[in-house]
């Protein structure tokens, strides 16, 4: 919140400090992946801030585009560790959008949920442990699905389309949790 001016734009000082930190890292000859890794926390925070101020942002799609660009360059572990807090923030804003009914905001939230659940599905296929270790202490997917459920029956086809896709991409992750629990149960008993 404090990083935004009254017009909703990021304050110059925030951009400057991020830029200086970025230039220092470039000087230390870090690779792109390393740079993204070091700055992943800032990037996620920036996306979250934008979601929280969607009504003030002219290009409502920008948080989604930022997330897509970030995931294209980042390593899975650079996002997976932030997924719980990211989804919690997204839930919080989605709950506000239900009440405020800001045009286009719910759609952006659905796209972000979809990209996040797709990310988890793809990551779990490659590294099951990485995702499960992060998610096992959280009822994250259920909280996410609870929010998208009404939109499956939405008269807006796009919203319905996104919601069904979100549901579908969570299935493999939920199934993996089950496999893990069965293994754990067999070991204990």
């Amino acid at each position: 919140m404090e990083n935004f001016s009254s017009s909703g734009h990021l304050k110059k000082v925030t951009i400057h400090s991020a830029l200086i930190s970025f230039l220092v890292d470039i000087n230390e000859a870090k690779t792109v992946a390393e740079l993204i890794s070091v700055h992943s926390s800032n990037i996620i925070q920036n996306i979250t801030q934008k979601i929280g101020h969607l009504s003030l942002i002219r290009n409502k799609n920008s948080p989604f585009r930022m997330l897509v660009a970030f995931l294209e360059m980042a390593l899975p572990q650079d996002f997976v560790r932030f997924v719980p807090s990211f989804v919690r923030s997204l839930n919080k804003f989605t709950d506000q959008y239900y009440l405020e009914d800001t045009t286009g905001s719910i759609e952006v939230a659905l796209k972000l949920y979809l990209r996040t659940s797709e990310f988890l599905r793809q990551t779990i296929e490659a590294d099951e442990k990485l995702v499960l270790d992060t998610l096992k202490t959280s009822n994250l997917l259920r909280q996410m699905l609870m929010r998208i459920k009404p939109f499956i029956l939405s008269s807006d086809k796009k919203m319905s389309f996104y919601s069904i896709q979100i549901l579908r991409s969570t299935f493999p992750v939920l199934a993996s949790t089950l496999i893990c629990d069965i293994i754990a149960a067999n070991v204990i008993f």
Binding site: L141, L153, K157, I164, L174, A175
Partner: protein
């Protein structure tokens, strides 16, 4: 000590959120919603999305659609309704319809070939009759479908139906 434990209770603690069956309750919770969505037969691409979702569920937990004859009694009648409405109105299949029928055929194949739960003969008979209706329509207007839709897509669907019904 007991009092302290109560105060420190958190829904985020692993022992409080360790749902032993994660996929099953979600599948239960959403199945009715998906089938309700599929009742709107004018939204063909959304029905296809629902079928894709059921196919993923079926690949992970094949028992789910077999239990309570969910596919036979809740999903299949919706497909029949769509096909019957096309036949009654003498409507040609659109590209979206062909995609939907391909998805449905794939799901039916995965469903009937699950060895642990053999499908009852009455359903197989019903399924074969419905699929032969599709084959008849595709062959009757084969030239149109090959030119206007996609020769490859139609050929692939016909092959899938033949494999399933033979």
């Amino acid at each position: 000590m007991e009092r302290e434990e109560v105060i420190n209770f958190s829904t985020e603690d692993p022992e409080n959120v360790n749902i032993p069956e994660s996929l099953a309750p979600i599948a239960w919770e959403f199945f009715e919603t998906l089938t309700y969505r599929m009742k709107k037969i004018e939204a063909v691409s959304l029905i296809t999305e629902c079928l894709k979702t059921l196919a993923v569920l079926n690949s992970l937990r094949p028992d789910f659609l077999h239990n309570q004859r969910r596919l036979e009694e809740k999903v299949f009648p919706l497909l029949q309704k769509l096909i019957d409405s096309k036949r009654r109105n003498e409507d040609l299949y659109s590209l979206a319809d062909i995609r939907l029928l391909t998805e449905a055929t794939d799901l039916l194949k995965a469903f009937v070939t699950y060895k642990e739960r053999p499908v009852k003969e009455d359903f197989k008979g019903l399924m074969n009759r419905t699929l032969s209706t599709i084959t008849e329509e595709l062959k009757r207007n084969q030239e149109h479908y090959e030119k206007q839709i996609s020769g490859e897509l139609v050929k692939s669907l016909l092959e899938k139906i033949e494999q399933l019904t033979s």
